[in-house]
């Protein structure tokens, strides 16, 4: 047990709160360990919010830049995961806004990759299992944008109505309404997959 694999492993043992404290103190290795630990969830969230994996990586990158700059202001280091995900949320929204500014890409995010459409209702269990996920993806992509955002922030990141409201710059009551509409639409679509 010598060299960097061991070091990597040792940092992986360190809990979030300690890593966040060290990172706030300027420790880049601790910050990178946090980034590695929560990167996949950040990337998955950004992908559903922006609609593409390439955008998701830009968002994760921007999120980490912002997180590094603002770590000093994180009051509860143990809550670093939720904090990172909230930044992912707002950066994803900003990202789409900026892209729209450059060109009208309004259709991009609702475009569904042909391969990801549910192909058929194959009775084989494996196929059913993955194709109902595909069905949910397709249904999600068809939702109005604001509804989809509310749903992703709630179901993927477990944000409160107030947190979602802050991220999207709408009222908590609107969040409640949009989330409900998203769920009703999705639940209806997915009824056949029960």
């Amino acid at each position: 047990m010598t060299g960097s694999p061991a070091a990597q492993h040792q940092l992986d043992l360190v809990p979030d709160a300690l890593l966040a404290g060290r990172a706030a103190d300027g420790d880049t290795a601790a910050f990178e360990a946090l980034a590695r630990r929560h990167g996949p969830l950040m990337r998955a969230t950004a992908r559903r919010l922006t609609g593409s994996l390439a955008d998701a990586d830009d968002v994760v990158q921007e999120t980490l830049v912002q997180a590094w700059k603002q770590l000093d202001g994180l009051r509860d280091p143990a809550a670093v995961k939720g904090w990172l995900l909230r930044i992912v949320g707002s950066r994803s929204i900003d990202h789409l806004r900026k892209r729209r500014h450059h060109a009208d890409l309004g259709t991009v995010e609702n475009a569904v990759d042909p391969d990801s459409r549910p192909k058929n209702k194959d009775p084989e269990t494996n196929a059913v299992n993955s194709s109902r996920i595909e069905a949910l993806k397709a249904a999600l992509a068809k939702l109005p944008e604001e509804q989809r955002r509310c749903w992703v922030l709630k179901e993927f990141n477990d944000q409160s109505y107030e947190e979602i409201a802050l991220t999207l710059n709408i009222s908590p009551a609107s969040v409640r309404g949009r989330l409900a509409r998203a769920r009703i639409t999705l639940a209806r679509t997915m009824e056949e997959w029960r």
Binding site: S4, D58, Q61, E62, V65, Q66, H95, K98, R99, H102
Partner: protein
Amino acid sequence: MTEPMDVGAAAPASASAASADLGILAEQLLGVVQSVEGVSSVYPAQPLWQSIAGAVLSVVTGDTPALITLTDEAGVLAVKTRIAVGTSRPAPAVAREVAEAVRRHLLPRPAAVDVSVVKVGV
């Protein structure tokens, strides 16, 4: 950081032909810096993300920022580079060798070389 230089006169020597020359020269110098033993990579001379907006722009356009910046300052060529150095050789010696290699390449043109080691080790 470039105290000996007159920072106020930091604009390139106008003419587009001259700036194209500088572009070619910068590319040559990049090769010179990279071939110094112990240099493991060369970073953009200006930090990539002075701002988040800048990052978005470079991501969208795919522009790669200049790895070596060259500025003609009253006849003296100011060269700026940021490097990462491995641990096989002492970093200070590598930095000196980079500066000397750049200076040698530019002869007989007078130059002022600024080398920052921003990373030591893997």
